[in-house]
Each structure stands twice: as structure tokens, then as C-alpha cells.
Amino acid sequence: MIDYKQAGMRRSEYETTVRALGREPNETELRILGVMWSEHCSYKSTKPLLRTLPNKGERVWAGPGENAGIVDIGNGYGAAFKAESHNHPSAVAPYQGAATGVGGIIRDIIALGARPIASMDGLFFGDPSHPRTQSLSSGIVSGVAGYGNAVGVPTVGGKTLYDPSYSENPLLNALCLGIVRREDVISSKTAQPGQLVVILGSKTGRDGIAGAAFASVELSEDSKASRPSIQIGDPFIEKLLTEACLELRDKGLIVCMQDMGAAGITSSSSEIAAKSGVGMRIDFDKVPLRAEGMQPWEIALSESQERMLLIVQPEDYEKMAAIAERWGLDCAIIGEVTEGDRYVINWFGEEIVSLPASLIVDDCPEASWASRSPDYESAWTPREPSRSRDSSDMRDTLLRLLRSPSLADKSWIYDQYDSMVQTNTIVGPGAPVSLLRIRENGNMIAIALESDPWKCSLDPFRGGAESFAAGVRAVAAAGAVAIGATDCLNFPSPEKPEQFFELSEVVRGIAACGTELQCPVVSGNVSLYNESASGRILPTPVIGVVGLIEAPLSWIPSGNWKPGDRLYLVGKRESSLAGSHYQNVIDGKVSGRPMPFDPEMERSFGKLAHVTARKKLAQSARVLAGGGLAVALAKEALASGMGASLEIDPSTNDDVALFGEGGPRACYAVSEQDVAAFEETWRGFPCSYIGAAGGESLRFGSVSLPLDELRDAHSSVPENNGRRD
């Protein structure tokens, strides 16, 4: 018999269990509760924080509590989307960890009855010169590619940042988005007594047992011995499972569906029971197994991939089994929905688990951690005023920024991803925002994935809001209205007061941004304990923002300068180097206080950007992000294959003006005939003419940077990550 500590429980949690049951739990029950009450499954440290996030809105069909969120995208269709982390597995087994991260999030979307149409990935890698970074980053990228390409869901964009804090603890966040008709939406809350519990997909094996518990502790040297906790992915089976589930959906044969992710059969079945307010009986001896001699607790906690739990009407089972057989998938009745609240597991006729479903799913005591603000003020005190440099410095700085791994071209990553399958990708990876055609209703979706860990480390509230606002701005500049968001909160242990403070403040910033900009956070996940003996990760909220462009379609691409286009900068001139790429690359450390979140400015920007796109008053738009104005202009020039003459002289503009970040700002390229209408549209908002497109070099006053030189710098790839030939 194991004790509660071996099951991963705290004493207080164990005592809660004993009180609720009126007896000691047996070993299988203890193991189940240990995993289901782990941080990964229970969100016990963050529930109170997550409750503060806005998740309601006219367009929201489904929010937190379902497998993913769904927002209305018009004409009876919804976009189902969610981002999820798979950090610990990717740190230990990069290829499989990343692959199964992609597979898991795709199943979450299928579980709602949606067809997955796009994925994105958030990648956070360590110092490029660290010995592990090359193998971790290439393994993770290959894993995303290997799985996503085979399963036929295009990877249409993402975000990649490098910082030494991720050297031992890389992050892999995967976002998936699917399309569903309103009447086809499948819930996990609608099971009724008498219905059958069915498992569909792969057989259950010993892989990934208790992976959720593994994800809820800090990484240690022992983690490398945790390989049995790593799941193995099979995208071929996932593809078959996708088509089978969608066929079952079309034939109306599914009552409820839930992906078997963390804690496998146990979490999927008990969650359906608890959310539907019913009981459930599962016969473990009916589960198709791939390993011999598996113990009930191993079956309970196996995280074998590519499995779905379905609730079906008894009279529909035969039809369902025929469809499963056609797709070559295992399918078995493993239990029944019952009256009441009892979650029972039988093993060859013997009752081995009998727990209230609500106890497993809802009653994990919330963990409250002490919170204490670190000393931010000393970092906020400016050490030196913003520097003005002579013109050779400006050239050197811009080239160094373009060459830095976080800002450099990422085609070595995204060329490995099939970004076009399903033929809906209008703008794919490499652009600030990805655009997808929605064939079903003629509209378009814009998705941006953003994160600003450095600003979060200096001011978590402002950094959290900025991370979110950056995505809202990016979709707005393309012409979309942000209609929903998903967040992955990647943080170190919450048990240290300063770290819990940081987490709480980032969430407060996200909540403020979502509320002020009326963009509900409809799904997400939390990954804590991202630290190892060598340190902790930066606070890393990753936010996926989904925007809608309604027909008749009108949008503005990026990197589309035409000769003679007038270039405009909209947004305030002032910005900040605090937490910027400039500080990282040039100073080697970040300091200062990032720009405050200004909801009024953000809303005005969003409104005007939208008008600009509806009236198609610009050829090209790019929001100012990492590296500020100078890098935005350089990226526009490179993507357009064209230079510009800019009335921005480095001798009169300091580095803050050139490289500062934060706040709603964008550069637009406007055709001559649209100049008057463009200026009229932006009247009342800071808007200035900064130059004209054309030529083979980017000319900042007297400083001229040939496009070839910019391209050479931007296309440099981190050590050893380039092509092998």
C-alpha cells in the first residue's frame, strides 16, 4: 500500500478525502485522487485567479469547463480553440513531448465536434550557445512537424523566443482551432443515466502513466529517468480518430465526448460524470489493453494517446462500432452512466473504486499560497537616460537586433511545418498574424500568438496586459475584430511568495486587458513548476487572440509595400526600452518599467485600424512589436523586397524612439490616392508621415542599410539549427 505522499497528495488533501469518504481510500482510489488533484488536473493553485478572467460575451458559445472555448464566427458557425502547454514532456523527450502536445490539443478541439483547421505553436528555447538548446529546439520543432504534418492540420504560425531561463526548461505551447456548426457542438455535460461509456481509438498501454503528476513537480535530474511518464504519439491513428469522430458527429451518434489526456480514462470519465451531474460505472476488465498484466491503477492513469471517451445511446452502439471498424479503430463499451453521483470502477466483478464523482473533479481543496511583491522599484529606477548614438551605432544596433535569435527569420522552423494543407491559409507563418479563410461561411479568421516574458518580469501586471494587447493589435491591424482569446500560463512554482505574486499580477493584467478590450478568455491552461536546479523560467503567459473578418472581405496584409507608398507611423511617439529586445541584445539584461496599459488608446487604435482595413486605405500594415519602429520597418522592407527613404534621422532620434516597445502603434503603407482618406481616418490619434517606400535600401536620414545587408542579418539562424547540407 502506498501512502498519500507517494500518490502526490498533501496531508491536508488526504484528510479532506478521509473526511468526505468517512473511511480511508484504498490504493487505487488514492492513486486516482493523487493524479486528479495534481496541479495539472485540478488547477488548485490558480482557480481563484482564473475566476477573475472575463469569459462571457455575446459571441461565446462555450467557455472554461468545456474541452475548449467556442466563439460565434457568423452564419451559424463557431470557432473552437484552445492553447495548451506540454512543457515537462518536451524537456525530457523533445520529439515525443512536442508531438503529443500537438495531438492532445487537436483532440480537445475534436471533442467539441469541431474539425481542426489550424495549429500554432509557442516555442521558448534557451541560450543558443547552451549545449542542450540545439537538441531540444530541433527535437521539439521536429515533433510539432512530425505530428501536425501527418495528421493534416496546418501549422499556420506561432511565436519563438530565446532566453537563458528556458535552457533547462524549454516551453512548448500548442494552439488548435476548429470549425463547428452550432447544431453539431458536442458537450461534455449532457450524459444521462442508461447511456453507454465507450472508448474509441488506441489500446491502453503503460505509456505516460501519471504524466499529470510528473508535470506538477519541478524538473530534476531524476526527470530524465521519467521516460515512462512520457507518452508516445501516433499521428496516423489521430487522423483516423479525427475522421471517425467527425463521421459519428455527422450521423448524430455522440451524446458526449472527451479527450483522454492527462490521467486518461479516469479524468475523462469522471469529468463527464461530474459535469453532467450523474454517476458512472466503468468496467476496467473491458478496456482494450496493449500490455499484459496491467494493474487497475495503471489502466486508470495510463496516458496512452489517441483515445476518446464517448457517451452513446445504447441503440446507437452498433452503428458506431461499424464506423470505428471501417476506420480500423478499437472500440469497446467499458461502462454505463448511472443515477446519482457515484463513480465506480469494477475489475472482474469486484468493486475496486467507489468515490463521489464530484469529489474527484471538484472538491480538491484550493491551495492558497503566500504572495509577496518582489522589489520591482529598484529595477524601475532608470540607471541611465536613453542613449543617443551616432549613426554607425544605429546601423550596428539594428543589424544586431535582426540577427538575434528571437527576432531573426524563423523559416528554419516553419518551413518544416505543412502550413497549407486544407487550402485555407491566406497568410501563413512568418507574418505577424495568420489569416485563414473559413470556407463554410465566407468569413476570415485572424490569429496571433503573443508573449512578452521580459516585460512580465519587470512589471507583471503591465507585462500581462501588454502580452494580450499585442495580439489584439496584431489582428486589428489586419482588419479583424478580436472576438476571443486563449491563454497558456507558464510559470515557476507558485509556492514561493514572490513567484505567486508575479503569477497573480500577470493574470490581473490579462483580465484587465480582456475586460477593457471586450475580448473574453474562453479557454486555456496553466503550467506551473517550470523550474530546475539551475533556475526558474521567466513569467511566460502565452496568449492566442482570435479575430474575425466578416464578408465582404477586406483586410490588410503585411510586407506589401509598393514603390511610392507613403509610410505612416500611428500611435504615440513615446515608448520604452524596459524589457525590450534592445535591452536583451545590446545591454544583456532588462531593467526599467514597461509602458502602462492604456485601454483608451488601445480601443481607439483598434477602432481606427478596423476602419482603415474596411475601407482598404492602406497596402500594408505592421504593428510595432519586438525591436520597435526600426525593426518593424526593416521587417516590412524585407518582406516587401523594397527599401524606403525615412524622415527619421538617428542623429535626432534616440534609441527609445527607434527601438522602444509597448503600446498600440503600427506602421502603414498608403497609396498616394488614399493619403487624404487615411489621414482623415486617423485624425485625433497620433499619426505622422515618416517616409516613402522604394529603392534597394532602407534609409534612416543619412544612415543607409542595403536590403541585402538586412537580409543577411535577419536570415542568420541560431548555431547549428540551419540546414544540414
Binding site: S142, A145, G146, N149, A150, V151, G152, D234, P235, F236, I237, K239, L240, R326, W327, G328, S411, Y414, D415, Q416, Y417, D418, S419, M420, V421, Q422, T423, N424, T425, I426, V427, G428, A431, R437, R439, P557, G559, N560, S640, R723, R724, D725
Partner: protein, 240 residues
């Protein structure tokens, strides 16, 4: 023209080809499950779509080449019917010996997905009659095993018989190492059988059909011409 798209377990471009045919020609293709042993009556064109048939396990295309439907596909080809294999479908065609050679791992040992340009080498096949000699087409690629290989003598013979239909080339028509994305011998992107009625190519015409797709400045719709050309041939409008 009646088209039949073969669906193997793991095919993932079948729906894209169906959509391409629908939007370019306004025709509905038949989707034929791999366990069938006969093609729908009246089939003019068989398409083996891209994807990862059988997960690409064992060897790309190897298991699909032994699917029940492939007997009917071979008979269709033998009777002069059109067979088109795209990407994984090309691999299935070489594995089933309907086309010579093999597709090996890209020389970068990486999956490559990107826009790509190919040069039309022959306009006297049923698949290329609407194109001009040496015309440059924009068809994207997305594959891990796309390096076309054939032993030296056989490659010479293949070239001599003019079986090479498409070659990777730059936008100004130069087929050299720098315009070769995957290391394919002689920059080969697509070949036909000796009779000219079976075409395999690695690039994806069904992804080059819609001006909306691709970045705003580089969108191309050469795929539409490709499908129309095949339709015209099949419907006898251009004769043989």
C-alpha cells in the same frame, strides 16, 4: 470529366483535391475508399492524393500500393485511363511500379513546406496541354521524401524517352542546384509513364488554385489551368 479520388487511411489532401476540382471545374469527384476493388463506372481520372497513407510507416506509399483498390487503378492505367499521383500519391505510384524510380528523403533531412516554382518540360501529355513549353508554374511543395532517384543508366533512359514533365526551376527558368529544394536528381519534380497517361509529381497543384491563398503579392492560380487542361483532354476537346 469524371474524377475518382482514392482515400487511403492517412490521406490528408483528398478533400483539398476534391475542393480544387469543384472550384476550378464545378464538378464533384467521387471519393473511393481504399478497400474497394472497382472504380466507379465512367471514371476518367484517378487521383492518388497527398498525405501520409498508412502513416508513411514501413516506407512511404509501400502499404498503399498494396491496397485492394490499386488493382483497379492499374487496370485503369493499362486501358489508357488517366492516373495522377500528387506527393504521397507519386510515392504510391513508384511503389506500385506504375512509374519508375523512388522518392527518397530530402537532402536536408527535413520536411520542407514552401512555395516553389517548376518548369514545364513537355506540353504533349494529357496533363500539360494548356501550358507553354518552359512555362514556370507556382505549385507549393510539402514533403519529407521528395528526392527523386533512379540509377544512372535508367535516369538517362528516362530523360531520353522524355518522361520528365516538370523540373524544379527558378522563376526565370533556370533548373540548377540552387533551384532544387530537395536534391531530386536532374531537378525532377514530376514524370509520366512511357504511354503518358500516368503522372506523378511532388508539388501540389491543388494548393495553387485560389488567388486568395498565398501571400497577397505572390498568389498564383496555375492549379486552375492544370485541372482545366486535364478536363479538356478527358472530355476530348483537345484530342490526342
Amino acid at each position: 470529366m469524371q474524377a475518382s479520388i482514392i482515400v487511403f487511411p492517412g490521406s490528408n489532401c483528398d478533400r483539398d483535391v476534391g475542393h480544387g476540382l469543384r472550384s476550378a471545374l464545378g464538378t464533384e469527384a467521387d471519393f473511393v475508399w481504399h478497400t474497394q476493388t472497382e472504380l466507379p463506372p465512367g471514371t476518367d481520372l484517378v487521383v492518388l492524393p497527398g498525405g501520409f497513407s498508412y502513416g508513411d510507416y514501413l516506407r512511404c506509399g509501400a502499404m498503399a500500393a498494396r491496397s485492394p483498390i490499386m488493382g483497379a487503378v492499374s487496370r485503369h492505367a493499362a486501358s489508357g485511363g488517366l492516373v495522377l499521383g500528387i506527393c504521397n500519391g507519386f510515392q504510391v505510384l513508384t511503389e506500385s511500379r506504375l512509374l519508375p524510380g523512388a522518392l527518397l528523403a530530402n537532402r536536408t533531412l527535413r520536411f520542407i513546406c514552401r512555395p516553389c516554382t517548376i518548369r514545364v518540360e513537355r506540353t504533349d501529355t494529357p496533363f500539360t496541354r494548356t501550358f507553354r513549353e518552359k512555362q514556370i508554374l507556382h505549385f507549393p511543395i510539402a514533403h519529407y521524401e521528395g528526392l527523386y532517384f533512379l540509377p544512372g543508366n535508367e535516369l538517362l533512359a528516362l530523360e531520353k524517352r522524355r518522361q520528365v514533365v516538370f523540373r524544379y526551376a527558378s522563376t526565370d527558368g533556370v533548373a540548377d542546384d540552387s533551384s532544387n529544394p530537395n536534391g531530386a536528381l536532374n531537378n525532377i519534380a514530376g514524370i509520366v509513364n512511357e504511354r503518358g497517361n500516368v503522372l506523378g509529381l511532388m508539388p501540389h497543384p491543388e494548393r495553387a488554385r485560389d488567388m486568395l491563398l498565398g501571400d497577397a503579392s505572390g498568389a498564383h492560380a496555375d492549379g486552375t489551368d492544370f485541372w482545366k487542361g486535364i478536363r479538356d483532354w478527358a472530355d476530348g476537346r483537345l484530342g490526342q
